[in-house]
Symmetry: D2
Subunit: 399 residues, 4 copies
């Protein structure tokens, strides 16, 4: 059997690499994608091969990740439960898609991942895998307690030692982390009491507010059709732009959230996230829409956001209903082109200017002093007809 | 003819008071509500009577405003176009309702207001008036250019002088303001270019970020059924609680926004708002819901928010569709009871703790280490059945 | 172990009764509800006791079924995928609720049902059971192939013969049926090709169109707050009213549908249904709403129907999101009181009259000839303001 | 001044033609579109020119009407207030668009129509006109009582006689009619009491049920991407196909409805409609979707229908929000290709078969007897995880 393994070189996936060979006598093809997690990927291939992998792909998908996954959800202003910018959720379909590409290329019949049976990531990986290759076999060892009898990190360390693969990792971690270009997440461990605040030293992609710059910084972000293309006038590639905004946002402590969210598996989970660049883009994009997007289009689209975000969160990226909504989103972004000025300070993103060649804002129309082609007396009929049904209702109620 | 006039004692409504007598030979009953606008209302009655009013009501509705208007929209997390907390919108139905109460009590056949023919407020006033008293006559002089031939403030000053009512107000204002307990708004004038940032000296209810406290402040807000009832353990009346949070928020520069919004009358308008207490409550309420509210209830309710906010913004408060939605909102808040800890700093509201006797969060369920009654292998079937339609679709597409 | 078994006395549940005793050494309490399935329930208790049940409840819940389950979904105009009136779906929560009531009363720790692992009914039963008694154990033998090794009816007949329980049922059935007061359903077997039409002799609750009455029949149905209360002026109990309409509808071949629907388990299924009385009520209720319900309330509520129907179909009756929506529905029905005249003929339900003390329809308002308090020139301003954003958009596009 | 007049040659528009010349000294260009109203259009040009028009366009837009207006709304299953297939609504934007085309070609600065100030049609005409040519002047004489002082038909007849244009029309009409290829509508007059049934002799496009064929007729309709392309295997042009179905539907009395609907202008209106071909297509299209469309796509789309239908009804065809929704609809129809068999009888449309090369229905999957790659035990985990939040909620409530 050939298996494609989602591999990071860490404790869990090193155990999986060994266990797959042992349990299934499998030829294991390791796969590691660079989604901007800022980990050392040099030497990963050698490590995988040394531990028995028949092949190891290290795959830089950063530009694809930004262009085809992150920016489309930003066009939709996707936000889960009013707060979460979907940083982890949106990476999973890309990783699973690449694993399926490799399974097809290599003739593998199965994929394996190290996500637990309680979380969302298993769902996101597997829905993508099944949607792209309906006959794929998925091996999720954490859901196979009889075959994969590990209860924690110390078990795994002992197992590797028995196989002659000594590790230097610690037997416990204070929390679990996941990082990519869009964000870093922290879950579990000491975060499990939602009444407790995390320690300042946990945070990673952003400076603590106490150390954030004492001077506000104003930047300008430019968009074309809802996609960010330049910062301060400098055109950048999708990934480079996001990284630039991450660096700027970091200095100002932008993009931290601490929430309790609802997992697709049915439980509530406390998650702490840093999304510096994404938070800047979210606010800037909405501000640009405010002058370029028609009112009714916006209100209708705003009604889609909870559903769209739920689909992304739950792992339904390669799903026809997400694609149907995306078609509407794409249509809505045709004129979302222009510049937004935002001021960053002590964790805040403050919009302070927006302009666009497609602006629908008219100072003349809105001015107290100028008519701008607007006849105020038209408002009388507008109100009268809007009130008609309310008057009929009141008349009926009053008998 | 008897007319109830929305009266503030300012330039516009002083003109209206005189003009109504002149134009209609009307008996004018002045009405001024105290919705927390923090203006001097002493002497207002005398002023109105002196200028010809037959009566003047000065009406303290602050507690009613907080309890029956502001807090219900906060239960709904109402936010217009993703940004605006509806501070002006929500005051209008209360004011109009009181004017109709007085019209009924006094036997008046008309009401009069000084809102312009371009804005939302005329709509909000009049929809409420018509919904409560379908045969009311509404006099909106700004929509009557033939009868009310004023082009600006200097015209009005001159008119009053001619009537022997000299004023000391200036002939121009840099922008228009409206304040109540929930917020202050700034529109028009020098704000009309959405690429320009307002001056620091315009702001009123919040300290500039450069002067905000250098030390974060952590406070605890307590809710019962989605309604805020205490701050830092001290139980407060609805209005007192909001004022207390306004004072705290002010120190930390909390609740400023600068947006372009879509008016119901069809144009885009730039609005700048300060909502210190309301912003704190908005974040705290969402955080409490995150542990007390069921996932599907929340997602469904989140889908209502744009429509609900649109109804409030457009003035459909006393409308059956708003009441229908409110019935659902009220139902959803039955267990939204508990405490939230938020840290305020330099314009930011950072949730850092939430607890509730009705919490649905279970550390055991979510823990990496404990089962908590959850069988991880159940996730396999869950994913398989969720994936089934995607697999059938892929199989069909693959032929 | 004590188990409450959903028992009908048919082949499947007779096998389950025996098997539960054998497999678990269980004390089995049989439960059979009368939801109007028109089967012979006399002798059922004796039969159950004879085959080893320790107790057998035969429970007439017809009035509760109509009043608390069927009519609330009719108030909502619930219709699944545009066609299905949810006849089977709505019976399941009631049956499961009663089983849990009995489990609580009898101190049983488990319930058992004979629904298959492919269908919706297992989900509906179990979601209700878990929602009402979270620690209940559910035994679903058809999902336990190792323990319950039956492949079909002939296996089961043989098993019973071995246990000394001879049956007279046939080894194969052309399709599966489920009946209650609201409808009868047919699935499976010869219906599995969706290009084939079912035979005329399959139908059960309605006369074939070829034999339906040759003369139309006009009846009058009266509602109070959206609940049907009388037919042709005769006040009837909830169940009696529905049965009366079933009898009338039968004569006219009303309420047949033949559809392919999407199951919650992920597959598409062909279902054929007869819902004579429910179909009449559905049309009559909508017609009454057309004169009693405010426009915006109706449009908003219409947007809820797909979600509401999905919740009922999927089994989320005792779920907070359904209860939240129901609160809105209940609110919307306050004035849905009045009479509707419908003509029944050859399968059709033709609304031909509606009247209500709460009617919002005004002949004067709508008349071509009368003003009715409506000033036609108001429409100009109404249109102008509604067109404003479109004109601004066109002006921008035209450059 | 040049004016394009929507002209039919009937009483009202003959008056308008004369009045426009008299009142504005206008050069009037008459416009009449053939949208399948089955009226005699021969001689219309001569008539217009004789009465003073400078030009008269008679424009056959039947194919465009079917292909670009009717079928897109059928792809969306658009239905207003659960009953109305939008037959009048969808013709208005096309007619107004053509008038604007002609205004542009002829250099006209105004358009004129004869719709009343109470109805929807004025809104539909004018929203389209303003959306396509924002500076167009609209003349709506019925909203200009001072200038257009006609109270009814006898006034108009007298006016024409005075101008030397004798007519032979009657001074009163029992109701108002509007016909096009999709439907005919009846409103007003004797229909104004919603408790009264219309006379059988009013109906026009369908045979009375008492005279409908005594033998059912089964036909097959074929679709490509949600668009009907063939009837009984015969490929037809868009308009020819609809006309063929109208003829078939007529024989069987298909497509009559009698409703009270909510106008955009705020009042309720009783409308009676015949839509024979459209009703057949509506049912056939839904039936085809039932096997070709993914479940979640369908449920999400079903949630759009009330809004989409409202937009079409209210006249927002050339509006960005309609176009955004249409983009989603188009995406959803990619695989809605196949055949549907429907049986027509005595007013009923009974779906009895559907097939598609893109069918997602799998008899194996759904079969009681076959596994079809489905493991029934997966349902256990599926239910358990779906129930988890309900169990946590119940546990909390039970304390």
């Amino acid at each position: 059997m050939k298996v494609v393994l989602a591999y990071s070189g860490g404790l869990d996936t090193t155990v999986l690499l060994t266990w797959l060979q042992e349990k299934y006598d499998a030829e294991v093809i390791c796969y590691c994608s660079n989604v901007g997690q800022e980990e050392e990927l040099d030497g990963l291939e050698q490590k995988a091969l040394k531990h028995g992998a028949v092949k190891c792909y290290v795959d830089d998908v950063q530009e694809e990740f930004a262009a085809d996954y992150i920016y489309p959800i930003m066009q939709a202003n996707a936000i889960y439960e009013g707060t979460y910018l979907l940083g982890t959720s949106i990476a999973r379909p890309l990783i699973a898609k690449r694993m399926i590409d490799i399974a097809n290329a290599e003739g593998a019949e199965a994929i394996c991942h190290g996500a637990t049976g309680k979380g969302n990531d298993q769902v996101r990986f597997e829905l993508t895998a099944y949607a792209l290759k309906p006959d794929i076999k998925v091996i999720a060892p954490w859901r196979m307690p009889a075959d994969f009898p590990f209860e924690g990190r110390s078990d795994m360390i002992k197992y590797l030692e028995e196989k002659g693969i000594p590790t230097t990792v610690s037997a416990s971690k204070p929390y679990s982390m996941d990082r990519n270009m869009l964000h870093i997440s922290f879950e579990g461990g000491i975060l499990e009491d939602p009444w407790n605040e995390p320690d300042e030293n946990m945070w990673c992609m952003t400076k603590p507010l106490s150390q954030a710059a004492d001077t506000p910084e104003t930047i300008e972000v430019s968009f074309e059709k809802g996609i960010p293309v330049a910062v301060n006038g400098e055109t950048l590639s999708p990934a480079a732009l996001l990284k630039k905004l991450n660096a700027i946002g970091c200095e100002h402590g932008v993009g931290r959230i601490d929430i309790v969210e609802n997992r697709f598996t049915g439980m509530k989970d406390r998650g702490v996230y840093e999304t510096p660049g994404g938070t800047i883009l979210h606010h800037a994009h909405r501000a640009l829409e405010s002058i370029c997007m028609d009112r009714e289009t916006m209100h209708l689209r705003d009604g889609f956001i909870p559903k769209y975000a739920e689909l992304v969160y739950n792992g339904f990226w390669f799903a026809p209903e997400r694609e149907m909504l995306q078609a509407a989103i794409t249509k809505s972004q045709e004129t979302v082109t222009g510049d937004v000025r935002v001021k960053l300070f002590k964790g805040g993103v403050h919009v302070c200017g927006r302009r666009s060649p497609y602006s629908l804002y008219s100072p003349k129309l809105v001015s107290f002093d100028e008519a701008g082609g607007y006849d105020q007396s038209d408002a009388t009929g507008f109100i009268k007809l809007n009130a008609l049904r309310l008057r009929v209702l009141a008349t009926m109620k009053n008998g």
